[in-house]
């Protein structure tokens, strides 16, 4: 659009203003405010003593913090590869011509529209011993002998499995749609040519489909890692971080430090540790995407 320089500046400002006000006040400003908070003993009521770098040296030596970061990392490691495999599998299922195609597309996505509270409570009851859905189905088909129960939520390893399954069920929908739309963009001629050359289904999947999905899969992988690092609510509801804090992720520790132990300053310091980790991951993603762009050109 052509217009005079000063007019363009003035109009752009007016158009940008509503967004910039909110963005500045509630995204940018808190980032700086948070830095101030890390230098103080800062409670829910008010700012107190100046601490200097104390919170920072404390956070680096705090075993609870590193354990919680470790738990977030476990969650990342458990959910990321499984998410990719599940997402691609679901996309393949929903891409095949079938009378159930529409049903598949809807049912794989529907859990994603639920609130985290609903998904988590549903999971909590599904994995309940005695009358929970999983155990009673296992009883019904005699995979689990009568009189025995699996205590999904009170044993650390099982709790991680339950949390992972709930998370996959609840969040795979978004990735599934991204994979499905990428599959649909693969030109049919390529498959036809491969078929003429005598390629089987399996070969076509490994040689055509998967390579075509590589770019979106890379993006999903990074977004998934970043999102998984920020896990909180489903674990908080399903296990409460237990048994004995053995599944407590970093965000839960931040929440508890700030709002239960009444130490917002220290909680903010922990947030920045997480922030730095996420920033490094985001930079890595940006770098990977750009490298891919460089290869293409």
């Amino acid at each position: 659009m052509k217009m005079k320089k000063w007019r363009a500046d003035a109009q752009a400002l007016l158009f940008l203003l509503p967004f910039l006000i909110v963005y500045g006040l509630f995204t940018i400003w808190p980032m700086f405010k948070g830095v101030e908070m890390t230098f103080y003993k800062w409670t829910l009521i008010r700012k107190m003593d100046f601490l200097g770098w104390d919170n920072y040296s404390k956070v680096l030596q705090d075993r609870e913090v590193w354990e919680a970061l470790g738990h977030s990392l476990i969650f990342v490691v458990l959910t990321t590869p499984t998410m990719l495999v599940l997402s691609i599998s679901l996309a393949l299922i929903a891409n095949r011509k079938s009378v159930l195609q529409k049903f598949y597309r809807s049912i794989f996505f529907i859990p994603s529209v639920l609130s985290v509270a609903v998904a988590s409570y549903l999971g909590l009851f599904v994995f309940q011993p005695y009358t929970g859905l999983v155990n009673s189905v296992l009883h019904l088909i005699h995979l689990l002998p009568g009189g025995t129960e699996i205590f999904w939520l009170t044993e650390t390893r099982l709790a991680w499995i339950a949390i992972t399954l709930i998370t996959l069920w609840w969040t795979v929908g978004f990735n599934f749609i991204l994979h499905l739309s990428a599959i649909q963009e693969i030109p049919d001629e390529i498959y036809e040519a491969a078929r003429l050359d005598g390629a089987g289904d399996r070969q076509m999947f490994w040689r055509i489909t998967l390579p075509y999905l590589a770019p979106i899969t890379k993006t999903i992988t990074m977004l998934q890692i970043i999102a998984s690092f920020k896990v909180f609510m489903q674990i908080y509801i399903v296990t409460g971080g237990g048994p004995l804090d053995s599944t407590r992720p970093i965000i839960q520790l931040i929440y508890q430090t700030g709002f239960k132990s009444n130490d917002l300053g220290y909680a903010a310091t922990m947030s920045y540790l997480l922030f730095v980790i996420l920033l490094v991951l985001s930079a890595l993603q940006y770098w990977m995407n750009n490298r891919k762009g460089a290869e293409l050109s």
């Binding site: 299922i93 095949r96 529209v113 509270a117 909680a267």
Partner: protein, 268 residues
């Protein structure tokens, strides 16, 4: 081979539907039913008594109202602000345009969860805790929406805009008369995704609201369910009441939702 594939597909779909179907069946059971095998959950008698009890005896309908109010305001204002900003970034040749674009892009790198503690303090300083304004205003800046809408506006040819300019139309008129109507599908997709995001938002209301008259639905669910004892019926009714509206919304707007996700390439 083919039927094995079909059977596996169907089995996976059943696993996905299972918990939701179970939720609906449990929610229409009578309370205190004896459950011996899993089939007991699905067989009659059915009753809607607990629905009535929960809807009339708790604040759940209040909370649904709050969620709806907040989600409508957040959706309309977020999309409006993002459309205005996206238009400026796309079509107005102002100084520092590239810089401004990067400032917005940087917002994608700032994880809300990592700045939630200072956000709490900022909101407190502004007297926004425990208020509808506090639920709505901090949620209005969506860099993702700005960037998606900007890229949509980029696709509208400048010739079209210049012909309106020659007829004496200003930026505002171009925005209202050309950009918005042409980008209606993108706006609709963004609006629906924003609505769902707001309807399901948990962390911020969880931290900023303590007055249970101002609870939104996702916060009300744990509050209610933690009061109920072992029985499953009440929790499942609460879950069902919370999910049915959003699932219906999904069924109506499935196409726009799918399009919105493919456009942004960003998870909710």
């Amino acid at each position: 081979m083919k039927w094995v594939y079909r059977l596996v597909s169907l089995f996976i779909a059943v696993l996905f539907a299972g918990p939701l179907v179970w939720m609906l069946f449990v929610s229409v059971k009578e309370e205190g039913m004896k459950i011996i095998t899993v089939m007991d959950w699905f067989t009659p008698p059915y009753s809607l008594a607990v629905y009535q009890e929960i809807l009339s005896g708790t604040k759940l309908t209040n909370w649904i109202g709050n969620s709806l109010l907040v989600a409508v305001f957040v959706t309309v204002l977020t999309v409006a602000a993002a459309a205005l900003a996206g238009f400026a970034l796309s079509k107005i040749p102002f100084r520092y345009r590239t810089l401004m674009f990067f400032v917005v892009l940087a917002g994608l790198l700032i994880p809300g969860e990592a700045t939630i503690i200072p956000l709490y303090q900022v909101a407190k300083d502004m007297n926004l805790l425990n208020s509808y304004q506090g639920l709505i205003i901090p949620a209005l800046a969506s860099p993702v929406a700005v960037i998606v809408l900007k890229s949509f506006f980029d696709g509208i040819p400048n010739d079209l805009l210049e012909s309106v300019q020659i007829d004496g139309g200003g930026s505002w008129r171009i925005f209202m008369r050309i950009m918005l109507p042409l980008c209606r599908p993108a706006l609709a997709s963004m609006a629906i995704l924003t609505f769902i995001g707001s309807w399901n938002n948990f962390l911020w209301p969880f931290l900023s609201i303590t007055d249970d008259n101002l609870f939104t639905l996702p916060m009300g669910i744990p509050t209610l369910i933690s009061q109920y004892s072992e029985d499953y019926v009440k929790p499942m009714v609460v879950n069902a009441i919370a999910s049915i509206p959003i699932i219906v919304l999904f069924v109506i707007f499935e196409r726009q939702i799918v399009k919105g996700i493919s456009m942004s390439g960003i998870k909710g």
